[in-house]
Subunit: 321 residues, 2 copies
Amino acid sequence: MDVSNELAIGIDIGGTNTKYGIVNHRGEILQKGEIKTEQYPAIGTFIDALYEKLNPVIKSLNKKNVLGIGIGAPNGNFYKGTIEYAPNLKWKGIIPLAKLMTDKFDLPAALTNDANAAAVGEMMYGAARGMRDFIMMTLGTGVGSGIVANGELILGHDGFAGELGHTIVVPGGRLHDGTGMHGSLEVYASATGVARTAVEMMAQFNDESLLKKYSTKEIDSRIVYECAVKGDVLAKKVYSYTGKILGEALANFVMFSSPEAIILFGGLTKAGDMIMKPTRENMEKNLLPIFQNKVKLIFSELKESDAAILGASALVWEMKK
Amino acid sequence: MDVSNELAIGIDIGGTNTKYGIVNHRGEILQKGEIKTEQYPAIGTFIDALYEKLNPVIKSLNKKNVLGIGIGAPNGNFYKGTIEYAPNLKWKGIIPLAKLMTDKFDLPAALTNDANAAAVGEMMYGAARGMRDFIMMTLGTGVGSGIVANGELILGHDGFAGELGHTIVVPGGRLHDGTGMHGSLEVYASATGVARTAVEMMAQFNDESLLKKYSTKEIDSRIVYECAVKGDVLAKKVYSYTGKILGEALANFVMFSSPEAIILFGGLTKAGDMIMKPTRENMEKNLLPIFQNKVKLIFSELKESDAAILGASALVWEMKK
């Protein structure tokens, strides 16, 4: 069979939306679409809805060219093909998603967590091309991570490695409502973390600030961003603080796996230098000299919506090996 | 050639002593010995001294059976065969040790850091036999680590991965004299850390304690251990606190690489349950539920003096592959 015709389906399951795409070996997404994850509280109807969207496309592309389905999902487990106790999804307990997809689509299916999928996408098609050691940090509603060492994803003995958003960076710090832990990276370096920082700082900031036009309930990461872009001092301080915490955390990660690069991905990276500069400064400051000025701290080169689809689809090429 | 006759030299370079052994494929150390590292401020005379000790042994064992030399050393770099800026050694700057050894002994030589060597020793002959994902923590004068994921040592892009003793666990905490960093794991979970904790706690402890018979200058980890064994409340508190910090750090490491086991090694492990119990409790308390009650927290099964020699010698078998 001509390899150049081979296609893979990549699916990125998020708490709000599920995005899918049909991908070729060059990393081109030939067709894509999405459904609302939240609308399907039962996994069966979710799969039916995906099937309804995807099956006509698969047929039109000549089914025998489509090799399989790769899925990125929160708390996705590669070894077992399951989603396990994902706090942001409505499907509770352990969902044997890879098997359910195979039963429905009659195609092999593989699954990993969404941040791992993004890391693989970045390695195959983005800023981490050719790298054997890097860390992908996804800074969105939550904080996820995918870690590559010796050219391979670190999955851990049970498939759950790479939960860097839940490492404790401020012992005794803010409460994480979802996990009950205090001071984890996710409560600082996420969109919700940025909003919380803004609210905390407003209470202690006596000067004028654009942020003060909003109630504490209204404040979200978009508002902080817009105020910072307008030059608001307090909003910019929010990013400095976020970058400080993130930079300190990254320094610890560097001393773990000594990556060639750390790639930042997701909503928070929109803030550009406002987040990058303090993050880099505080990372370097907390590194041993042998690690300083060596790690490339860069933004993802992939469109946010594409990275996870591409990475998920790459699982299919891996299956074939 | 009969593989069963093959031998490897393993050398473990420490700040005080350098230990060496001739090892066979079964992990038996046929001959061993040591020299005082400190007595050789010049690398050339150090190598000469090793040669004087080892060469007669190599000759007596039939040189062609000896395949090569593996070395574990602080700040040892596998990729470059160098020791770089090791704070506890007298040789400053970058020492191309693998090349110097090959020149002198006319044998291939490979080098990695001492904790990595211990991890490999544990994987081949100790508590980590058969494991593909584990972390070795060496808790001695300092704190080192060797990380194995997907069955391979994590070396990082530059060969310096696994410096977990220098990760920050108490932001703004104790000063590390050697690195200038504040609150790194090494200033708490090492022999010197235990002594510092004892001194700090004595100042705030109003009840009787055996420790109070000693001046703050006299207090060292051996004295704390002996007092704790005698049931001294304050000395036992020192271990509880050390275990708390260590457990919190280990939880973060687990969420990075999700190892099957964490293996504790080195002087601090002598304290047995006094250190193990609080470490385990605080590790579990700081883990996400998906990681809880899964990670084996165990002591090394190798004699401290043997693990690093065995691991270093294993580099030689790896070279052959």
